[in-house]
Subunit: 433 residues, 2 copies
């Protein structure tokens, strides 16, 4: 029997406890492992979580987990940096394996935590930190271990994907879709982490390190959120055969690792562009396996709890066999010599929406500046003739370099015939399906 203690009895804590209690027998039959939920610690021991807990499990004292020598695995589900970091480090120092869903903590302070787990020869499971119930960490670390990973594209924030889906399907504006998401509980009162790409970047940090062995590099990710996307851009994208998704992208290009999070136009016939609502999907390209995609619920009590419990089972399996599971962490940070590419060096296709005064010669002036900056045009949409007034002028480019694009847009935005800041959205081509 393996004893588990959960710190944090919120949404995911409740889901995890529910699975451990209700599915204990099927888990035992499937894996031969008997997992005993020995303790749950939370400041609030009163609130009804709709779960029948065995007597004496719930406590408000953190020592009841961290100082209980019977507890083999500590599950941290309080989120945030402090005191989650201190609890995890203390658990490891007390020779307890750790499972966490805390992507913000691992992405920003994971170095010290992984190092401590390594030193103590303990496991640290974080399947639940990326894409909720989808077993994506296991796929990347074990299922696809024979591969050189070439690229990963992920829709890994359900809130943003819900908002973009509603904007696309119902023609809503950003604010309206956000309000609806908040009303439905898909977005928090302060939605910054989700809509500005920060949560996505936390998860991308973990995926990139698992895929390429680079150190955790959250602060090197280029991040752009979805709040500036307009219904007009979504319409133009549709007209051009694309959908707009908030993508986490990491890939090897010219010997460096690209790491970026931004709204991205993806051809509407590609599978990943069909992932709608709060659902998540991760596309992984490996040199042997080719393209693979993993889809499911990226959040919620039971899906995330499923991922937490799968980590508990992996560790318990290791305990039974004496397996040194922590070896899997050694790859992260082992590839110190691979640099993260600066955003200026990234190559992509681009969508521009200029607000241009409808006057002869405007297209030629804009395309002249693009050409002078090595940017060539693949499509043009110009609509709504209103001579002398500003109308949207939409261009799609062939592959260009971000540094050139930024320089060109700066020049164009200074033209007297351009009345507003130009909208730019990156376009993914053949790399992602």
């Amino acid at each position: 029997m393996v004893n588990v203690g959960i710190i944090g009895f919120g949404t995911v804590g409740t889901g995890t406890a529910r699975i451990l209690l209700q599915n204990r027998e099927i888990i035992r039959r499937k894996s031969g492992l008997d997992i005993n939920l020995k303790r749950i610690v939370d400041r609030d021991t009163e609130r009804d979580r709709g779960l029948d807990l065995p007597e004496g499990i719930l406590s408000a004292r953190i020592e009841d987990i961290l100082e209980d020598s019977d507890i083999d695995i500590v599950v941290e589900l309080i989120g945030g940096i402090h005191p989650a970091r201190e609890f995890i480090l203390q658990a490891l120092e007390s020779d307890k394996h750790v499972v966490t869903a805390n992507k913000a903590l691992l992405a920003t302070e994971g170095g010290e935590i992984f190092e401590t787990a390594r030193r103590k020869n303990l496991s640290l499971g974080f399947e639940a930190a990326v894409a909720g119930g989808i077993p994506i960490i296991k796929a990347l670390r074990e299922g696809l271990a024979p591969n050189n990973i070439l690229s990963i594209y992920g829709i890994i924030n359900g809130t943003s994907n819900y908002i973009l889906t509603r904007m696309t399907g119902e023609g809503m504006g950003f604010s309206e879709a956000l309000s609806e998401a908040q009303r439905l509980g898909y977005a928090e009162a302060d939605p910054t982490f989700d809509i500005e790409g920060i949560d996505t970047a936390h998860k991308l940090t973990l995926l990139a390190s698992l895929a390429f062995g680079i150190p955790l590099s959250y602060d090197k990710i280029y991040i752009e959120g979805i709040s500036r996307i307009t219904a007009q851009d979504i319409d133009f994208a549709r007209e051009l055969g694309y959908k707009i998704k908030l993508l986490a992208i990491t890939k090897i290009s010219n010997g460096k690792v690209e790491m970026r999070v931004h709204p991205t136009m993806i051809r509407e016939d590609y599978l990943i562009s069909k992932i709608d609502g709060v659902l998540n999907a991760v596309y992984i390209l490996g040199d042997a396996v080719g393209e693979t995609l993993y889809y499911g619920r990226g959040a919620g009590d039971m899906p995330t709890g499923s991922a937490v419990v799968s980590d508990i089972l992996d560790i318990a399996r290791g305990l039974r066999g004496g397996l040194e599971t922590r070896r899997e962490l050694d790859f992260i940070g082992s590839q110190n010599d691979i640099e993260v590419m600066e955003i200026g060096d990234v190559e992509s296709m681009y969508y521009f929406r200029f607000s241009a005064i409808d006057r002869p010669g405007v297209l030629s002036r804009i395309s002249g500046i693009l050409g002078a900056n090595n940017i060539s045009i693949s499509s043009v949409i110009q609509k709504g003739r209103r001579v002398g007034e500003a109308v949207p002028l939409v261009l799609l480019t062939h592959t260009a370099r971000e540094r050139d694009v930024r320089k060109a847009i700066e020049e164009i935005d200074r033209l007297d015939v351009v009345s507003e800041e130009t909208m730019m959205i990156r376009v993914e081509g053949e790399g992602v399906q």
Copy 2:
């Protein structure tokens, strides 16, 4: 260092060897495991596989693997029942772990093989037996282990999916699409296993036992292939908002396990209906995780090789830690008390295409027989009025019982106004996305 011997140097054998040789260093860095390809045995030691093998690896003598006490893991990739079965059993009796991609063997004779592996406390990896490079066995056995699995829907035969995709996209007939698939190497000269659903049923056998713990039950699967599907049915399906896919289905209904392989109409806005060409996808519904889907290449040297090598790595990890990996096999066959449902008891929605003489009262006679058999109609398409001649009459039903449907069709096909055997295709509703 872990020593591996491969039996069978065909397509998958070559892919596996290529990955082990070319990716040895990245595998070592990721997993800390050094996998040494010590021997490949094949009757044909002359043919050029386009691979630079280290001297002395290739042999025509099976003893060079089975009697080499240095070899820890034997990889069986010759396919077919004999002598694959004998080689695997002999390897296990010689205390070697086994990895195989042989779904036909495991589905039909797996009981003895799993039992031998259990008795000898050895691992038996078969990730490559289902859905090629997609790590679906790992997802089901480990990633989703916390779940009661509720249902699985799979497109797990690339040949059939390619043929149906071409029939759908290009309006080809079945024979034309099959010929093209053969020309392109996607279908074999004798395509029976692929187009008649047998290969799909082999794979479903393994998925159902992993999901529900039932004994391997290939002979209880209801199997129907795609050769009777016409371009006309694909057109009617499209008109009704559906695509036709060859699905492997297994789920728990009324305390029994459904296991069936047949052409299935799926709503075209569901993700699994968008899986085209030779690609595979498996949809799994778990009680905690909810819906998940796994997508990728179901065949080919390198994708399947990726799955083979991932099994090798799992076993090697176990060897390092002394892990009893074979415990994972214990679930298969542990749930002897769950019966497989007879096809007559299955409930589904149905598509019927009747060849009915265009004459007043025909629809009422047909719908009368359906009604008398507890089958209610949800949609009707009647096209091309040619009074006195046979025209297609298409009906979609609400949920009905297969036994009733068969009885009704038998009655209807005896009517003097019905000129040909009725076409029936099962329709999946809300269960699958």
